[in-house]
Amino acid sequence: MVGTATKPTAGELKPWREARTPPFIRIEGISKHFGDFIAVDDVSLDIWQGEIFCLLGGSGCGKSTLLRMLAGFEAPSAGKVSIDGQDMAGVPPEARPTNMMFQSYALFPHMSVEKNVAYGLLRGGMGKAEAMEKVAAMLKLVQLEGFAARKPHQLSGGQRQRVALARSLVKRPKLLLLDEPLGALDKKLREETQFELMNIQDQLGVTFIVVTHDQEEAMTLATRIGVMDAGRIVQVGEPRAIYERPGSRFVADFIGTVNLFEGKVDVAAPDAMRITTAEGPILTEPVVGLRAGQQVAVAVRPEKMRLSREQGAAANVLSGTVSDYAYMGDMTIYKLALDNGRSVKVSVSNIDDASEAFTWDERLFISFPAKAGVVLSA
């Protein structure tokens, strides 16, 4: 095997980067109104085959409504959805090439695990013997071989979640919709299941759309993330891009922790950029399209800042006193009060043992390079 497989190019692995292959799912200008309330507001998205696309947002941002429109439970007020080139308008849920894994799992309480998983196959007109074969294979995939005869109420939360996954995957849908799939699991089980989910997706090649409010979950699972706010998609991108280059204050703040410095563009030269903030001038890498005098914010992630007792020679140096810190094991998060009272979070990786750690009320220098700051105009 070694050496025979050719490494796929970035374009094959990440088709959204090049417009070579047509998208598998096209969502064009879709909206959903409930009376006066606009749940989903003019959303357009292209999703490619084999993706794990995460819709990320707080509660009430419209992500679940969008998912339910894809499944056919809600009819869009405007716009169009097509899956694999087929227009979905007026197609009822039972006729769509999609399956859904519900947040509550929605396992049929009066049926055994086996019957739950077989339900979709039998409704689809498959013979009983063939269906049972597929069910057995599916239960093996989700490691529930010994549980076929159990009823849902005899299973643990994690087992129920796997039955729900098996049931939604056994028909090999073109598109699998997952509504907060890991929401009901505890943290440890959640992390394990995330990787399991990715493995299964890899083996079956089904396209996943996952709705979640958990940004960590989105980061680990997704090929791409669509961040939603108030019914709109505010940014679409690969997890790394969303984290490193957020497009707006909302995204920067929603994904991970961030220090936002509000200010005005002072110097906007092709080789240098300076922003005046209440905390002093901040140097960043030049951004095309920004003019002097424009209102912007500089976003700096806590792990991109350094703490030291002596003033270093970095592009940006602030100073403050430690007001609080939290030891997390792998790292320590320090909260520093700047001279103007503003608080800044800095995380320090505990590579060495933490004996050299800083403590309360210590006066420290916070330094970060020009490339650490992301300038946000939105």
Binding site: E94, F102, S104, A106, F108, Y119, R123, R167, K171
Partner: protein, 262 residues
């Protein structure tokens, strides 16, 4: 925890108050004497007497048929009402329907009986149906008030039911009618059974509404007992009452067990 004497006494008195009449009735049903209030030794002869009483046996048969029919009709109609009340989006008539459905729960039986009697009489005059009063009219009347109880029981089950179960079935390829029989019905089945048993016992017990809506040759068991008691309590009535208590208690226990099973 130390037991409070007050609670124990209160509980004891409460139980005595509720069960002494029933207990004495059961006890005296095994009384040898013809005099209801004088104990003269143990005997089951009144049970034998009861089995030879054509009038009572006929009434039992009529009551059972009425209870069976009205319980079944009440389950069908009550379930439909519960579905509309729980699942349908608000419409102008919904509060009225809700009120109408639950009204028989609080309406005095005399009024229910009288209004139904008036309805049957004027219907007969206008459309010729139901011709006269008898089993059919009692069944309709009992269905009316049993429906309310069934609707309440089924409603609570429907409210508890996760609607995504039905969505999941549709998502897996079942058309709406199929979803109803594959998922909805089995999930609410305990409530239907409980509602049926409740309706059955209610119909079996009813005297007032049945008296208003009954006609010649359609005397239910409670009506026969009542007319017998008016001529003086005879011990065979005690025996009959004991059997009824047994049947009703069984019905309620089964309904409770079915409801509890999830």
């Amino acid at each position: 925890m130390r037991r409070s004497w007050f609670l124990i006494i209160a509980a004891t008195l409460g139980f005595l108050f509720l069960y002494i009449p029933i207990g004495s009735l059961i006890l005296f049903s095994f009384n040898e004497s013809k005099l209801v209030t004088v104990w003269a030794g143990f005997s089951t002869k009144w049970y034998g007497e009861l089995l030879r009483d054509e009038q009572v046996l006929g009434a039992v048969w009529i009551s059972a048929r009425i209870a069976f029919a009205s319980a079944t009709l009440a389950v069908v109609l009550g379930t439909l009402a519960a579905f509309v009340l729980v699942r349908m989006r608000a419409f102008w008539g919904k509060p009225i329907l809700r009120g109408m459905t639950t009204a028989p729960l609080v309406m005095p039986e005399v009024i229910t009986g009288l209004s139904l009697l008036l309805l049957f009489v004027s219907m007969e005059r206008m459309i010729g149906w139901p011709a006269g009063r008898g089993m059919v009219t009692i069944i309709i009347a009992h269905t009316t008030f049993c429906l309310a109880y069934v609707a309440v029981v089924v409603q609570s089950r429907l409210v508890d039911m996760d609607e995504s179960l039905e969505e999941a079935a549709r998502d897996l390829g079942a058309a709406p009618v199929r979803v109803f029989f594959d998922v909805t019905l089995p999930v609410i089945a305990p409530a239907l059974v409980a509602g049926w048993l409740l309706a059955f016992t209610l119909s079996l017990d009813d005297l007032v509404v049945a008296s208003f809506t009954s006609g010649p040759g359609a005397s239910t068991l409670p009506m026969v007992i009542f007319s017998k008691v008016r001529l003086g309590v005879s011990p065979d009535i005690n025996a009959l009452a004991t059997l009824i208590i047994l049947v009703v208690a069984l019905g309620i226990v089964i309904a409770g067990l079915v409801m509890r099973r999830k």
